[in-house]
Symmetry: none
Subunit: 197 residues, 4 copies
DNA sequence: TATGAATGAGCCTTCATTCAT
DNA sequence: AATGAATGAAGGCTCATTCAT
């Protein structure tokens, strides 16, 4: 809008496109590297994967947490948005909760090192940690409340605690063929159900 | 009983008291530092905490795995020995399993970073990881089998998976007042119980 | 001629002047430190001498062998190229051999620690050792063969052995005013001459 | 003889014997380790080879040079003593010189790292260096003077320089089957001979 | 006296981060 | 804006040397 000059305008615009392209490339590269080497991967590795310079990473994402948040924001948002939808489309709130947890688990299990971010001591990932919880705890709370109201589950478990538990169960799951995080989460959710009678 | 496993009898490698004191100090220091900074803590930090030189660590524990194993051996052993005892003294096998898991959780929760060792990708801690599983999986299997035989739990969950799950639930538990690992483990064990009817 | 072997043309890896300056400074510093402390000198010492950080060395020369080779490459090349020229310009092949050896000695004597690289047990300098020999042994062989053919020297000595001998005679020469490596090499070459009659 | 007391005597005597035994064991061990790993071998390795404690080495040989000197003293002495004998028993002084050098080479070549001690910059081995030269240079001078007097060799080369040259030619010889130090030393000595005519 | 435990300087190497180009 | 060169802190490890036992 404000670029009308011939040269300055074109330059500014093309620059902006480059920047956007770089940002996208960085997010893709970071996602790929995180899967391979975890969220602690060397910055260089990410830059190399993206085919950009080191400085470009720091320009777009001053801290590592900024990058991680950006990488996973879309998926976190999708997960948050799925909550109400599942509640509306499922037979019971407990069923919705189960499905929502399943989706959350799918997300975590496919992102190496991501589950660890849910933990309280994720040093250096505070912003990311906070983002996760800010976005997801309300949704989870809504599901828990509904299932409690319907009498399907025992009351008392807070969403934060459930999410931490689910997150923890997913830690390291992708590397171990003998460990099925989904199954254990299933047991956890089953244990949450009000005992018959 | 197991106190003398290493230096059985008077033919111990070293009888020097200061050396033994240092070894003990190192184990205590390592335990403390592991709580604070995890099992990847700098060797220097452990040496400083113990008030000994760097070389002293390398003398007593040539590799990091040696140190970690030594730090937790006693407690792992105690946990292993508790299995049969609980089976004998509890009302039902499922109750024994629950108590044994409780004891295991108590152990893990008080030793930060330890739970992480149960995970499969504990790079560089293979020896420790193996020690844990070699020692505890058989005990846990015995308890699970008994509870399955008594019809109290659904069959099919392997001890390794249960222990990994419990271990995971305990990761980071000690630092977060809002997260009660025991409670979540309780839900997991409850979920394991055969649904009434 | 050989100046541009590495960064041939304008498509050089890096055009940054400061980087080139640093690389040059590192080569000079390494050469100087090698004279003082041998080719096993601490990396830090070389970095300090060059006035650059530690990482800069590792960037330009990932391994110590890379650095040593780079330090001496030009001179080795010059020496190799001088062989045929001397053969063409000298009165007899034996005279050419003598002059070539003189040049080689001049080279070695002014680069402390370099002579040691000719030795067989230069642990960790295999690449450098190989470079030296690959480059110079053929030249020396040519000179020896010519001098043998002209009947000026006794046959049988291989170029490798002669070069090792000359190299050895030069070890430590620059630090000792009472030791004249050139003189001793002169005796060696004289001894190689076919006895009159 | 002077120990007559029952306890004190036995103790003192046995102690003295132990000490001698240890010193001998250390010399043998050091000689063996020097052959294997050079004169820079870790002190620990020598102590281990000798089956004594670290402190024992330092008691008997406060510095590394002390140990090296002790290890080679006998052989240096033997070499020194061989000079006059060879002069007396050989046909000509030049022949005696050649034989003496041969013996010296035999000595150096069989002791890894020893030849390097002849060099001027043998940092930390100054005492050893000095011992070598003090002992051998006079002998070598005597041989050179005699051969000069007999007109067999060109005059002017000092004993120190010859010995340095021979020592240098022997550096690293034991590890390289393609390098025959004796042969090269032979050429050097041949080159020393007065040219016919 | 002998032992070997302890110390800590010193080296190597990696990688986050800054900044000249 | 982008690049990647440079920096240097951080951490692992090895040994020479001292000194309590």
């Amino acid at each position: 809008m404000s670029e009308r000059d011939e040269d300055a305008g074109r330059a500014a615009r093309s620059t902006r496109k480059d920047a956007q392209r770089n940002k996208k490339a960085l997010l893709d590269a970071a996602a790929a590297v995180f899967v391979t080497s975890g969220v602690d991967a060397p910055v260089r590795a990410i830059a190399a994967e993206a085919g950009v310079g080191l400085g470009t990473i720091y320009r777009h994402f001053p801290t590592r947490a900024d990058l991680i948040i950006a990488v996973y924001r879309h998926q976190v948002d999708a997960c948050a948005e799925a909550g109400p939808e599942l509640l509306a489309s499922s037979a019971t709130p407990y069923a919705a909760l189960g499905r929502w947890i399943d989706q959350f688990v799918d997300f975590l299990v496919t992102k190496h090192g991501l589950a660890a971010v849910l933990q309280s001591d994720s040093t250096g990932f505070d912003a990311l940690h906070a983002y996760f919880l800010d976005r997801l705890v309300p949704v989870c709370t809504q599901l828990l409340d509904a299932a409690t109201a319907s009498g399907e589950i025992r009351p008392g478990l807070r969403a934060y605690e459930l999410m931490r538990g689910v997150g923890n169960l997913c830690v390291g799951a992708e590397n171990d063929p003998d460990y099925d995080a989904r199954r254990l989460v299933g047991l956890l959710v089953a244990g949450l159900g009000r005992p018959a009678g």
